[in-house]
Amino acid sequence: MDADLTLAALAGLSGPMAMEGMFGGVFWVLLGMAAATYLTRAAGLFLISRVSPTPRVEAFLRHVPASILVAIVVPNLVQGGPAERAAAGVTALVAILTRNLIAALFAGVLAVVVLRGVI
């Protein structure tokens, strides 16, 4: 951790990251993420104080976050075995019952450990 805390390492100027060119550096990736995120946070006020979005654009934006989550989960389940799929079911069940992310997370991780030992 000591060496990693130097600015050079943070900026991707040393180690294997330096070989990836300008846009491969961790520094630029972090800067790009921060800029992209702040853009989304500022854009709502910027736009709404000038124009009102069409209902169709609103519908698009409303459906994107959940769709992205679906997209991430699907290949994980396709790749996973029966233990992973059953643990996914346990996770979903605990999330529905408790509405608590941490409880569902621990239940899912515990389930996958147990099920991998059994199945």
């Binding site: 500022a42 934006l61 459906h63 989550l69 991430i72």
Partner: protein, 239 residues
């Protein structure tokens, strides 16, 4: 300018910051646990503690931070990561717009400064505060700062203790930590569920993601699913 229904003007005070911070404290603790997970997973994905901490300080958006760990490796796809971050966080656009009655009344630097700290949690509490007639817009900043403090400190703690955990165990899968990602996203999905009308959109997203995963390299299936679900939702809305 929007009609301000209440006769009282919008204010921006230190006591508003404090009130927002205090109201957010219970959520702060669950964000803390979530931040621990991010820190641990970030180190597993190959980030240093400083890098994970820097990401939490500058990007400060949990779902997108977890998501880009899927891209993390010796070679970092800059445009894939930044585009994914942008698309994952597009919901902020609507969230910021929803706070217009507060924000439009503030000097721009206070409004755009407060928006840097806007998260799902602080936004939800602020909407409730605004809806119940709260006139102190600094509530949004206070609630956001609360999440910020917990998210950053948990990231550092998780990343540094994850370092010791990582050296102590040879196989993360034995502890089920590899499944933590999937579990987090499944839980978030459950919380996103609004009702049966979501199902067709989710099926379209799932189909597009599966196709993208089978046909395209890397993590582009995430964008495939996200765009397909969003576009289908918009198309359905227009019918």
């Amino acid at each position: 300018m929007p009609p301000i229904s209440s006769s009282q003007p919008i204010t921006f005070t230190l006591s508003g910051v404090r009130r927002g911070f205090q109201n957010c404290l219970p959520l702060g603790f669950s964000v803390f646990a979530y931040g621990l997970v991010f820190g641990i997973l970030a180190v597993q994905a190959g980030m240093s503690t400083a890098q994970a901490g820097a990401m939490s300080l500058t990007t400060f958006a949990g779902a997108s931070q977890l998501m880009v760990l899927e891209f993390w490796g010796p070679v970092l796809p800059f445009f894939g990561i930044v585009l994914t971050t942008f698309i994952v966080n597009l919901r902020h656009v609507l969230m910021g717009a929803a706070l217009r009655d507060w924000l439009i009344a503030l000097p721009p630097w206070k409004a755009y400064g407060s928006l840097f700290f806007m998260t799902d949690e602080s936004w939800a509490l602020s909407m409730r505060e605004m809806g119940s007639g709260g006139r102190d817009a600094a509530f949004l900043l206070g609630a956001g700062l609360c999440i910020y403090v917990f998210w950053f400190s948990a990231t550092i703690l998780g990343a540094s203790s994850g370092f010791f955990l990582g050296t102590a165990m040879s196989d993360p899968a034995r502890w089920g930590l590899d499944f933590a990602f999937t579990a987090v996203f499944i839980s978030l999905l459950i919380f996103f569920w609004k009702g049966r009308q979501d199902l067709p959109v989710w099926l379209v997203a799932a189909a597009a993601a599966w196709l993208g995963w089978a046909l395209l390299p890397g993590k582009w299936y995430i964008l495939c699913g996200g765009l397909a679900g969003g576009l289908y939702g918009a198309w359905r809305h227009g019918r």
